[in-house]
Symmetry: C2
Subunit: 337 residues, 2 copies
Amino acid sequence: MATMQDVARAAGVSAMTVSNVINGHPKVSEATREKVLQAMARLDYRVNVSARNLRKGRTGTIGLAVPEVDSPYYGRLAAAIIAAAAPRGLRVAIEQTYALRDSELEALALSRNRLYDGLILSTVGMGPQDTEWLTMDHPVVILGERIFGGPVDHVAMPNVEASRAATLHLLERGCRRVAFVSGTVGEEVDVSSLRHTGYRQALEEAGLPQDPELHRRLTAFSMAEGARCARDMVESGLDFDGVFCVTDTVAMGVLRGLADAGVRVPEQVKVMGFDDVPESGFLVPSLSTVDPDHDTMAERAVSLLVRRIERTGARPEPEEFVSRFTVVARESTGGPA
Amino acid sequence: MATMQDVARAAGVSAMTVSNVINGHPKVSEATREKVLQAMARLDYRVNVSARNLRKGRTGTIGLAVPEVDSPYYGRLAAAIIAAAAPRGLRVAIEQTYALRDSELEALALSRNRLYDGLILSTVGMGPQDTEWLTMDHPVVILGERIFGGPVDHVAMPNVEASRAATLHLLERGCRRVAFVSGTVGEEVDVSSLRHTGYRQALEEAGLPQDPELHRRLTAFSMAEGARCARDMVESGLDFDGVFCVTDTVAMGVLRGLADAGVRVPEQVKVMGFDDVPESGFLVPSLSTVDPDHDTMAERAVSLLVRRIERTGARPEPEEFVSRFTVVARESTGGPA
DNA sequence: TTGTAAGCGTTATCAT
DNA sequence: ATGATAACGCTTACAA
């Protein structure tokens, strides 16, 4: 395979001139440029990206670590991040972590090995106790709920506020016994806990009791688990007229589980999701949800990362960006206002 | 940032020994290994992947070029390919081509620049006339319908056979006026044309007429287009009792469109998709479809690629792999047998 | 405008 | 078991 030297020889110039032609430097005469271009074509020359990367100290690739890419939410997010990175000349390599702490730490390690110029890390398995791994000596942006106030940039959703609004929406539509379907809620700062807080705030504001029976737990944020949980709610004789689901994916399962149990939505039970994934508007009934503005989050995550990658002077202070949200009323809560 | 030389100096050994420790070569005494490990920790040493790549002539990354990653089908495929690549020590970088021919060619060019060790390319925009770009001098596996008999490995679905089976399934369930929803069907070898062929074969076998009115066209394989198309079919007064959709994504839209038009599925119209994406089993009604065995396709695509990446001797002959398929009967065609 | 020289950080080869 | 040397292919200075 031809190298730059080979091209230089064939064109009767130096390697430097070939490099200048390739990189579009202005100080190359039209004649030499032509000669070089022809030699390149003749030899079917291809730049060696590895050599260039070594020399430049950059790879032109950022890493994106997410639990899995075949979920409506992370798929949507990945697409938005790839789209935001492209105009900046950055490629995106995706690591699937399967929500495992060790895989998330591994992605961090790979990025620090300068495999990537920077990393966008969706923390699900890692928690606040892992803050020590987040050093500012390499560009990292955290995307998600689990780590706040660390030494790195952070892009998050307005979980509490949006969940409060989602629950209030169900109450406005007449629900009085609203179930909340999520993972385990505890001390930690995670999606389930944050969204549960918003849910509780809404009930409190409305002066409704907090019945622990209404809080249902999943072992995974999957459609299958959502369906199982919904069937379980009906079969156990739970009295409920609304369900707020921790994600749209779970809500899709809940809709299915309610159908299995013969419960009509929205007549008997109203259902609310969170994320506004592309599918939600096309379900039957279409799913009411919260739109957290994925594109802005993705754009912001990439721009924060690029700021660090390209920084010349002092390290910028860690920044926290929280997106805006919109409640989207669809059929599963009785349709648009 | 510490280099291998720095570590070597700190440990009082040569860079070569450090390299041997890092790469787990057997010929290192326990004492030296320990010394080196400590020096590495002390200096917070990180290998420079770019330097390694240059030296080795490999990047450890393969490219995956797909139209977009936020569709149930390509998301599912990408996840399977990442999973198949991981145990082989390969990372996957995703390029979104948006089904554009130029972007697909660009992905090919990047891979040939040794940005990737090889490329899995889902051809949608490129066609048979682009075969010239597919040279065997760099590992490439084509995934999809548009290019057959080229000089590179190819992993495909049994489009005609599976579509025939899908259509026959609708006929077995009592449909007599089966519509086909796809993109434009023409001379070219693409998903729409191949699946249309299977559809026609089934009608022919059953002795049913081929009514051109029953073939409906989309401008994109999206849920929105599927919904529009379904509403259009009903509003135009088309007489039909079954719909075979070119993909599950389109079928999700069709289900929505039929609901909008007040048509009940499966009582009045039965609906069949193609792909068996994760969502299909959870829709209401759940979607009957064809399972093309994504995991096997992904596994095969990766193993064909790896065979070329790691080949030492002569170039293997181009291979063509066609997956098996299964018809999955769900509620949208009246439920499991 | 073009060329020369040096070096990015690693590893394969060959000695010792 | 360890080390010296020489690339891998490119680009940043600097010189001409």
